[in-house]
């Protein structure tokens, strides 16, 4: 992204590490074995060749440094990727997670040797229980989607224990939901019924009523919804679902909007997963690692994924397998390195800071809504929560500018594009989540860029069709990539 780019004129992507360096170079000195030697295993069990790159340390460092410069992160600029909560990631959280006392611990060390980490994880369980209003928590899931799977398997297990699993085979999912919701329901062995959203973008209680016929296991609800909207009938929905004997599953991906303002448990949810990398600001890492804790009522607590951290009467902590657990989701205890960061984030903010977080996230989203209203179509023109979904539909005429083109043009303005073409129920969707860590000036700068692009769309559509013009690389042939997949380096690939 730098203007001083020695690689600018090179077809940088054409040459991988495998195509660089030279035979015999190496990046790190490793010791051989100088003690007594035993014979190697029989040759039939051994590898003959290993084709890996051979680079000096400097070459390797320059290569990956160059790669990093071809990336845009939250530290690079505004990154309003809707539903992903790309907020600033505090550096102190990285620092403390890397303390050797945490980082060097072996997962199978006796629990007496890991009391520091366990105490922290136990406290984190307690904080998340307080924040969600659901008192039982497992930190085991590795990411939101795995937390969803845990939650739905817990529902399955409870229905099985009640003898109702044979008839409760369906899971209801609103059409505005993340794809992970229906995919999760399938992985848990349920059939998915999609609920069409009402004209206001919310769940239509009448539609729900028709589906609740005793065959439903659960309704999965993202709150606030992926449209950035509150569900006005959520308490009524919860009561209705429970009256039918079904469960209310909460997708906590958008918790940032209501941190400290409302709790899933109080609203009638039975089980919810959180995305710590979103709400609690652990770095997204180019696509992980995340963490997806699952929180539930007492009714579901025995089925939580293993392990959970439990405090004994003497104050010592242990890793415990819940009595009728759905089992393990990972080999060990969860993503401790991510959980420590989330813990540090909560401790650095306290309740007042968390409430300021949701307030400023919602304020920024609504401020942005008013700045862009009139320039882009707003399918649901009402107060929003943490994000606002516009449509690029108005820009289609006369120049056939699509949301895709608008997104690409934003790159030229030094801004990461928002989420596009999601939720699926909005034509040409632009899903924008500024988060609380963008300043008023940054939100205004984003709005100015969007308004300038709307103007360009009218005046010079070709400018948008060819965008980005100032990125490390232009638009790529995604169709060819999928038609003739080239998925690994091969010697003849240059």
């Amino acid at each position: 992204m730098s203007t001083i780019d020695p690689l600018r004129d090179e077809d940088f992507g054409a040459r991988l590490t495998f195509d660089r360096g030279a035979p015999g170079r190496f990046a790190v000195a490793v010791a051989g074995w100088d003690g007594p030697v035993v014979p190697e295993p029989p040759a039939g069990l051994l590898r003959e060749t290993l084709a890996l790159p051979e680079l000096s340390q400097g070459e390797l460092v320059r290569y990956y440094t160059a790669l990093s410069r071809r990336n845009f992160g939250v530290d690079s600029g505004t990154y309003p990727l809707g539903s992903c909560t790309m907020k600033y990631n505090p550096k102190v959280d990285d620092l403390v997670a890397g303390l050797p006392g945490f980082a060097e611990t072996h997962p199978l060390a006796p629990v007496e040797e890991i009391q520091g980490t366990l105490r922290l994880l136990h406290e984190l369980q307690g904080y998340l229980a307080e924040i969600t209003g659901l008192p039982f928590v497992s930190l085991a899931p590795a990411a939101g989607a795995q937390g969803e799977l845990a939650g739905m398997l817990m529902v399955k297990r409870l229905l099985e224990r009640r003898g109702e699993l044979d008839r409760r085979r369906r899971v209801l999912v609103p059409d505005s939901a993340h794809g992970t919701n229906p995919a999760t329901a399938t992985m848990a062995g349920f059939a998915v019924t999609e609920l069409p959203s009402g004209a206001d973008g919310a769940i239509d209680p009448a539609v729900l009523e028709r589906e609740l016929d005793g065959t439903v296991a659960a309704l999965m609800v993202t709150l606030p919804s992926t449209l950035g909207l509150w569900e006005p009938a959520i308490e009524e929905i919860a009561a209705r679902v429970h009256r039918d004997g079904a469960f209310l599953y909460g997708d906590g991906a958008n918790l940032n909007a209501i941190l400290g303002r409302a709790r899933f448990g109080d609203l009638g949810f039975d089980v919810v997963h959180l995305n710590l990398h979103k709400t609690f600001s652990t770095p997204h890492g180019g696509g992980g690692p995340g963490a997806g804790p699952v929180c539930c009522t007492a009714e579901l607590a025995d089925y939580l994924p293993a392990p959970v951290v439990v405090e004994a009467g003497d104050g010592s902590l242990d890793l415990v397998r819940p009595s009728d657990t759905i089992g393990r989701l990972q080999q060990f205890h969860g993503s401790a390195g991510v959980l420590i960061r989330a813990y540090a984030y909560i401790r650095s903010l306290g309740l007042a800071g968390l409430r300021a977080t949701s307030a400023n996230a919602v304020l920024n989203a609504n401020y942005l809504r008013t700045l862009l209203e009139g320039h882009y179509a707003l399918p649901y023109p009402r107060r929003v929560m943490h994000e606002v979904v516009f449509s690029g539909s108005r820009q289609r005429n006369p120049g056939d500018v699509r949301t895709y083109d608008i997104a690409k043009r934003l790159i030229d303005y030094g801004i990461h594009p928002p989420t596009v073409y999601f939720p699926l129920i909005v034509d040409e969707a632009l899903m924008i989540e500024p988060t609380e860590t963008e300043s008023r000036e940054a939100v205004e700068a984003f709005a100015r860029a969007m308004i300038a692009i709307a103007d360009e769309a009218a005046r010079d559509p070709e400018l948008l069709h060819g965008a980005p013009h100032n990125a490390p690389i232009g638009r790529l042939d995604e169709a060819n990539a999928a038609r003739r997949p080239e998925l690994r380096w091969r010697p003849q690939s240059i």
Binding site: Y421, E478, A479, A482, R483, R484
Partner: protein, 128 residues
């Protein structure tokens, strides 16, 4: 957008070309335009028996995926293997080289229930 008059059409945006008891099946110009760049087509093995309305394959574009449904019953007697290496034929020639399967119909009268070109066109969104 073109919808040849000699073909029959389905509400699932497929076309059929009928020669005696054999139907050739593909997707319409409208369907390929909606999908965008087609990147993968999965069609059944020759010899497979299809029921009316049964899903017989899958078509994928970069950002979407759709099932292919057989509007008629019968046995698959040919499939277009060229689509394996060149799925883009569905975009460039939806009624020609982009055909998908040929089926020997077990009840050719089923054709009568399908749409004519005009009837199909009238169902499309305005401008289609």
């Amino acid at each position: 957008m073109e919808f040849p008059a000699e073909l029959r059409y389905t509400t699932e945006d497929e076309w059929l070309r009928v020669d005696d008891d054999v139907a050739t099946i593909g997707i319409t110009d409208f369907a390929q335009d909606q999908l965008g760049d087609v990147v993968y087509v999965e069609v059944p093995d020759v010899g497979r028996m299809l029921n009316t309305g049964e899903a017989f394959g899958v078509i994928e574009s970069v950002k979407a995926v759709s099932d292919l449904f057989s509007p008629i019953a019968g046995e698959v007697i040919a499939r277009n293997d060229a689509l394996t290496d060149q799925p883009e034929l569905v975009n460039s020639s939806p009624y020609g080289d982009g055909w998908m399967i040929r089926v020997r119909m077990s009840a050719p009268a089923e054709i009568d229930a399908l749409l004519t070109a005009d009837a199909y066109r009238s169902r499309l969104p305005a401008g289609g």
